[in-house]
């Protein structure tokens, strides 16, 4: 029996369809179908000037919008050969890591809700508010920030931002410990996660899976370490990996990443130099190409821009991590129970905005 889980379904967290063929409760086949939320962002970019695309890049993913606008700015800076001031780089690292925590918290909330853990959903969303408030004081917005600029960032840090951030981190680290107790202390949570949705190392590499899902399969691959962009080479952090390849490993990797993000934020605040936070970038890009790759909270994001000498890009290509990762769904799903679909697909942290672009 084929069951459509989607496009309108509590499991999907967005508009996509997972068709599963079940034999009783056991899944014998699965087909992910994406494309329901295609907005033509790549084409839209061709009609806009370079700065106008920044808010559009924010809309790629509601969960981690700042990562995408930052990625776009990096690509354009590569195209225009613009040097970003060091303070701007530190502010970017600080905000990206904050965005990573916000994104992972939203994932954790959705995951808890999928598994039926009511308080998990509410508490993680509550702690997300702390960082959203910080973002609000920094950028004026809570979800789509429009903060990075070509050649820097929009504003300097506001007054007392450093103090507030350190307080938030201290508060959050306590709460993170609490979540670990809440989730891992629950026998049922472990029953639902350990040994479910195995994605072997070779399969993960062959299917192009990136990000936490890949690291949970035991591959130490993190662009922040392997191809340091911005000022990540100055930062001292550990790449969270896990060798179990199951849903629990994916959960664990994301939790560890949140711990590491806290450390990176602290270091960024400590090492942040004084100086300019933005330089004025040229209006027109030269003829040529720009490429940037970042470690998105969901995997490897890449933007490739072709400039034609005008103030508008000739072509923008966006590589979405989840668009690739979702192709691993049949590998992970087949053989498990119908109830495991929510654990497995929830563990991938689907974001349809970036998938369908």
């Amino acid at each position: 029996m084929w069951i459509n889980m989607g496009p309108q379904h509590p499991m999907t967290h967005g508009l996509w369809n997972l068709r599963v063929k079940v034999d009783g409760e056991t899944i014998v086949d699965a087909q992910p179908e994406v494309g329901y939320l295609h907005r033509g962002i790549e084409k839209l970019c061709e009609g806009k000037t370079y700065p106008q695309i920044i808010p559009l890049a924010d809309r790629l993913c509601y969960g981690s919008s700042l990562t995408w606008s930052h990625l776009y700015c990096m690509a354009v800076e590569d195209l225009m050969k613009v040097e970003v001031p060091e303070r701007a780089e530190y502010i970017r690292v600080l905000t990206i890591e904050m965005q990573r925590i916000v994104s992972h918290l939203m994932w954790l909330a959705a995951y808890a809700g999928d598994l039926g853990l009511g308080v998990g959903f509410v508490y993680t969303m509550r702690e997300r508010e702390v960082f959203l408030d910080l973002f609000q004081s920094l950028t004026g917005a809570r979800i789509t920030y429009n903060f990075p600029r070509i050649g820097g960032v929009a504003h300097d840090l506001p007054q007392n931002f450093e103090r507030d951030t350190l307080r938030a981190i201290t508060f959050f680290e306590g709460r993170l410990k609490e979540y670990e107790d809440l989730f891992e202390g629950s026998k049922i949570f472990m029953m639902r996660n350990v040994g479910v949705g195995i994605l072997k190392k070779e399969d993960a590499i062959n299917l192009g899976v990136t990000g936490p899902s890949l690291r949970a399969s035991g591959v130490t691959y993190d662009l922040r370490k392997d191809l340091p962009y911005s000022v990540y080479e100055e930062m001292d952090f550990r790449v969270a990996t896990h060798k179990d390849c199951d849903c629990y490993a994916r959960y664990r990797v994301r939790m560890d990443e949140m711990w590491e993000s806290c450390q990176i934020m602290k270091q960024a605040l400590k090492k942040m130099p004084e100086g300019k936070w933005r330089i004025v970038a040229p209006r027109n890009a030269p003829v040529g190409t720009g490429l940037a790759r970042v470690e998105d909270p969901r995997g490897e994001g890449m933007i490739y821009i072709v400039g034609d000498g005008s103030d508008k890009p000739y072509r923008v290509k966006i590589r979405s991590p989840i668009f690739v990762t979702v192709s691993a769904a049949p590998k992970m799903l087949i053989g498990y129970k119908l109830a495991d679909v929510v654990a497995i697909m929830g563990g991938l942290d689907m974001c349809i905005g970036e998938t369908d672009r």
């Binding site: 069951i3 509590p10 079940v22 999928d114 039926g116 308080v119 639902r192 109830a339």
Partner: protein
């Protein structure tokens, strides 16, 4: 005075009042009309008729009071969930009484919604399933007495149906059948899986549940609620049968379908499970009935394990009973919101590999206690 005497008085008074009319008609009407109305009057005044009408009235009173408590339960559910989730819960509808009227507002809202039957549904099953589900659940309420004097009894001395607890459990176990029927008749894949899960779930929890209850019956030496509660006058059965009490709570959570075991309506994977195709007041009644079952579960746990209406005499017996039932319900809610949902195969594993051996051990403890003459 117990409830039977009270209701008997009312019925007797009413029958006397109406019999004036019948006998007057018997006097004034011609021969065979008169005989007929005289016979009606005689029948109305007969002992059998009075008893049956009294029991009807008792059932109505007990069920209505139970349903009012169920409204409280929904309110507690919302307020407690709100507190656990860091919000206030209902507040404005019924401002000043903690948002108590929110339930009624929701009821009115659901009541005015259009009732839609899916085009390809099996009409008969689709319409019959809610009736069975709701009817069997309300049936449970009639069997549970609030105290020795406040329950559905069959004569003046307050004799209860001797198999009341057995009857309540039997009525409890009808619901999975109606869920299966609803799931099949709705002609929807999600509801079908939900219905099948309900049947699978019943197989896993029903046997440990009944074995645990059997140990209570063994210690009390009776199937009736009043005798069971009386047997707990000195010590609650939850203390000697502590394992049994825990098994009973777990199985009851599965029986009333709350979150660790709400597989038939697992909303993450099955949208709304077996209730997916039901809308309007049918859905509202399902929602209400789920709480009725939770109330009945709490009342059963209270009567079978927590000493029923026994407590310090400062508070009336009935209130003691309700307080305990409320506490059991709140513990259920606490469990609901702080635990994830199990899987179907894990549910079967829990039922057959964990709970069943424990239930056997519990039964052996009960047999040992009974044979040593401690109960």
């Amino acid at each position: 005075m117990n409830l039977f005497e009270f209701c008997y008085g009312i019925i007797h008074w009413l029958v006397d009042l109406v019999n004036h009319l019948w006998y007057w008609l018997g006097d004034v009407l011609p021969w065979w009309f008169g005989d007929f109305f005289d016979a009606v009057g005689d029948f109305a005044a007969s002992q059998g008729h009075l008893s049956v009408m009294t029991i009807f009235l008792e059932v109505v009173i007990v069920v209505i009071i139970a349903l009012i408590n169920v409204l409280n339960f929904i309110w507690i559910f919302r307020k407690f969930m709100g507190r656990m989730f860091d919000f206030y819960g209902p507040y404005y509808v019924g401002y000043g009484i903690g948002g108590w009227l929110q339930n009624l507002a929701d009821g009115i809202k659901l009541f005015v919604k259009e009732i839609i039957v899916p085009a390809k549904a099996d009409k008969m099953g689709y319409l019959l399933a809610p009736i069975i589900y709701i009817g069997s659940s309300i049936l449970i309420l009639a069997t549970i007495p609030f105290s020795e004097n406040f329950g559905v009894s069959t004569n003046e001395s307050g004799t209860y149906v001797p198999a009341g607890a057995l009857f309540a459990l039997a009525a409890f176990a009808i619901a999975p059948f109606s869920i299966l029927l609803a799931g099949w008749a709705s002609n929807n894949k999600y509801t079908l899986i939900g219905g099948m899960r309900s049947a699978a779930q019943m197989m896993s929890y029903e046997i440990p549940l009944l074995m645990t209850v059997a140990s209570v019956f063994l210690l009390a030496g009776s199937f009736g609620f009043v005798d069971i509660v009386d047997a707990q006058h000195d010590i609650w059965f939850a203390i000697p049968l502590f394992i049994g009490f825990l098994i009973f709570l777990v199985c009851l959570a599965a029986e009333v379908e709350i979150i660790p075991f709400d597989l038939p309506e697992a909303e993450a994977e099955l949208v709304e499970g077996w209730t997916t195709e039901y809308g309007g007041m049918r859905f509202g009644l399902f929602y209400f009935t789920t709480t009725i079952r939770s109330y009945a579960g709490g009342a059963l746990a209270t009567a079978l394990f927590l000493g029923g209406w026994h407590g310090p005499a400062l508070i009336p017996d009935e209130i003691w009973f309700l307080i305990k039932a409320y506490i059991v319900y709140t513990v259920f809610q606490w469990m609901t919101w702080s635990l994830p949902r199990v899987r179907v195969d894990q549910m079967l594993g829990i039922g057959w590999k964990r709970l069943l051996p424990l239930a056997v051990i519990n039964l052996m403890i009960a047999v040992a206690l009974k044979s040593m003459g401690w109960f």
